[in-house]
Subunit: 135 residues, 3 copies
Amino acid sequence: MNDTVSLVLFSGTDDKLTAAATLAAGAAAMGRRVNVFLQFWALDAFRADRIEKDHGVSAEAGPEGAEAMRRMNERGQHWSETFRQAKEIGDIGINACAHSMEMLGLTQDDLDPMVNDVMGIAAFMVQVTGPVVFI
Amino acid sequence: MNDTVSLVLFSGTDDKLTAAATLAAGAAAMGRRVNVFLQFWALDAFRADRIEKDHGVSAEAGPEGAEAMRRMNERGQHWSETFRQAKEIGDIGINACAHSMEMLGLTQDDLDPMVNDVMGIAAFMVQVTGPVVFI
Amino acid sequence: MNDTVSLVLFSGTDDKLTAAATLAAGAAAMGRRVNVFLQFWALDAFRADRIEKDHGVSAEAGPEGAEAMRRMNERGQHWSETFRQAKEIGDIGINACAHSMEMLGLTQDDLDPMVNDVMGIAAFMVQVTGPVVFI
């Protein structure tokens, strides 16, 4: 029985990262192992100096959607905090894509401490045995 | 043998919803159980008063892509009708994410009748045993 | 044991296609069978006369992201070349969605030769037994 869920995070907007954090926390709460792999703009959003800043929303959200998102963030918790709490209660690994690190000119010191390590795509694919969600 | 396909619908543009409806109908036609979970802008697109309106296309489509999409919609059927027909012939459940309902200030009466219920992410994750597609 | 990975490519921007090519190559390098299904704007990007042109980046990338992507493309290889090499070393099938072919008014002669065939969604779903990644 395969209970691992892999999340490849590509997008770095607050709406998609909120959806990703919710899926990760939900899967972890069900006792599933969660592998998170950060690429491109999602990796950029996990930079220590930016993670709690405003990362915008998807282009399709429009002003009405952006406003609904902003109100939700005031009432609820930020997606970075959802990831942090989920890591404390569940079995979640968060790794950065080596290729994207190079593209963005980053070292691991530039990233939020909740990121465990930097790895290549092959090392990530070895872990992938269950569903893969690309966000 | 795991035949269930889970679709997490996040985007609310007509091109992505058409792709989602096609995947759902294709999976159902192959005899697979399909779990659809509506979040964020996809949930907004399932509002009873908006479902058949123009929801735009992805930013990347450009004017040429938008025109190709418009012509296809004139010749073919709307994605909402594809979902409706797929529900009639196959085993498809469509549920709304409780968190997104709250963000958008919606109650189930605001949604198209093909939406079965409102549920939390944990209840959705319990059903997830096969592939998960995030659109 | 299910080792097949299915990639449904919807987006046609260079950042997402680079992520897709990397996943396909990584999975193939691990000895997994990879099924690629081209829809909508990703299919458009595989047109023989456009595949190596500039396809832009996601709206969220911004000018800074677009510049990072451009520099990476100068140093590294284009995503189309990553797909080509991965097909040579691994077990990768690339097929075009019949529905999207019709929408874009294309025949197989319009596509890059690495596209194996045109197929409907039901034929694609038959092959789907492992994870499905929608990009």
